[in-house]
Symmetry: C2
Subunit: 246 residues, 2 copies
């Protein structure tokens, strides 16, 4: 490798390290947002919910600066095809994280409304467990990215089935509460959206893990995963329909 | 400009034209998907719904080939900062279109379930009108992109308020149907998701229009637009909460 080439390569590596540090920081903020939003719902803590809503601005700002930095690196370093693939993956991952931040913020907003209503059964602890699962998946997906650990990434993808299952169970529970007493409908609609938000966060983590598999193996994610639940043909519920378009 | 530079510039322009043609084709398919999904719901046409579900694969394939082509162009042509901005915008727009395709497919899936239930009031025609509005917005946003017409793009952004308003009205209507008769709950949940999907499609079109404003003026979209509806503080409804995280 000529001296000039080497110089360019290491400059790219330095830039990439900077971008990756930003992704990890963003990931940390999103992990906190997930857990705090679920906790604020369970403990009916309006102040904590308000904090989550305020903190989302920092996540958005990180995504913006990360995208600008990535565009700068592409323009300046004219990376090779495989380096370019890394930069584009990081941009996609930051979009996933940014959306997860929005979803946490949305949960916190709904918490602000729900604390004014009667609690519905034991649904808040179930939602917190579901959020905890997604947070752990995110932690592992980011570790898998930094370590380029394909097995760990595949494990994360697999675990999203549990999250889907938890969502399906909760969906049915909300329906029964609504049928039991129409006065529960409004609260249940909010709780259902919260469950759906967490389930969508699981999909975003899965997408991050799929990027890792792609980067380490060059293999594109398989055809859409089999749904953990088969209720699309169940005319009454069909909750897994919520999986599209997230 | 040296002859070599000129040669590179026109090669980039040719590449960009190819990418733009793909975006327009993708836009055409998404426009059709939006209208067909809404029509299949109104006319309870299961075959048309099935067609929308099948056609989504073509939209996904276009996004993939567009992203590959964009990455190839960036790597090969090492575009200037402003040309790079165009390519990155097109990639973002294709992500918006792909998601709109998914949302149409989701509407078509729910149609397959809803035809087995009793129709709920006059909600299907309302949903079709809402979908029609979003389809026209998309058409204009794509025209605005090709013509670099900032005024038209701003107009599209403005019209998203009407879509939000239509959604809010429908949300309240579904709630009253559910409160009136709990047997309506399941159908109303599906119809509500359909309304929400259309509302989210409006947000994606807005995001495309904002890209156009950014490309023509270099101006980033303003702070999050004012919500057309202020019910966040309304403990009973708060439908505009659904705006985050889409």
């Amino acid at each position: 490798m000529s001296e000039l080439k080497q110089h360019i390569a290491s400059a790219f590596d330095r830039d990439l390290e900077g971008i990756q540090a930003q992704i990890m920081k963003m990931g940390g903020l999103v992990e906190a947002a997930i857990m705090q939003s679920a906790k604020s719902l369970e403990t009916r803590d309006e102040e904590l919910a308000e904090l989550v809503r305020r903190n989302d601005a920092a996540i958005d700002a990180l995504e913006e600066s990360l995208n600008e930095e990535a565009a700068r690196v592409i323009a300046l370093r004219a990376p090779t095809a495989s380096d370019l693939r890394i930069v584009l993956s990081v941009m996609r991952m930051s979009a996933n994280l940014e959306r997860m931040g929005d979803l946490s913020k949305n949960i916190a907003k709904r918490t602000g409304v729900l604390v004014q209503m009667q609690a519905i059964g034991g649904t808040a602890p179930s939602l917190r467990r579901m959020a905890r699962e997604v947070e752990l998946m995110l932690k592992d997906a980011l570790d898998a990215y930094i370590q380029r650990d394909e097995a760990l990434a595949e494990d994360v993808i697999e675990r999203d089935r549990d999250v889907d299952q938890m969502y399906n169970t909760l969906f049915r529970e909300f329906l029964t509460f609504m049928l039991e007493d129409p006065r529960n409908i409004t609260a249940c609609m909010h709780l259902h959206f919260i469950a759906k938000n967490i389930e969508r966060m699981g999909d975003h983590v899965t997408s991050i893990a799929e990027q890792v598999v792609f980067l380490t193996t060059g293999r594109k994610p398989d055809e859409p995963r089999e749904k953990a639940d088969r209720t699309s043909t169940d005319a009454d519920l069909a909750p897994d329909m919520d999986k599209d378009g997230d």
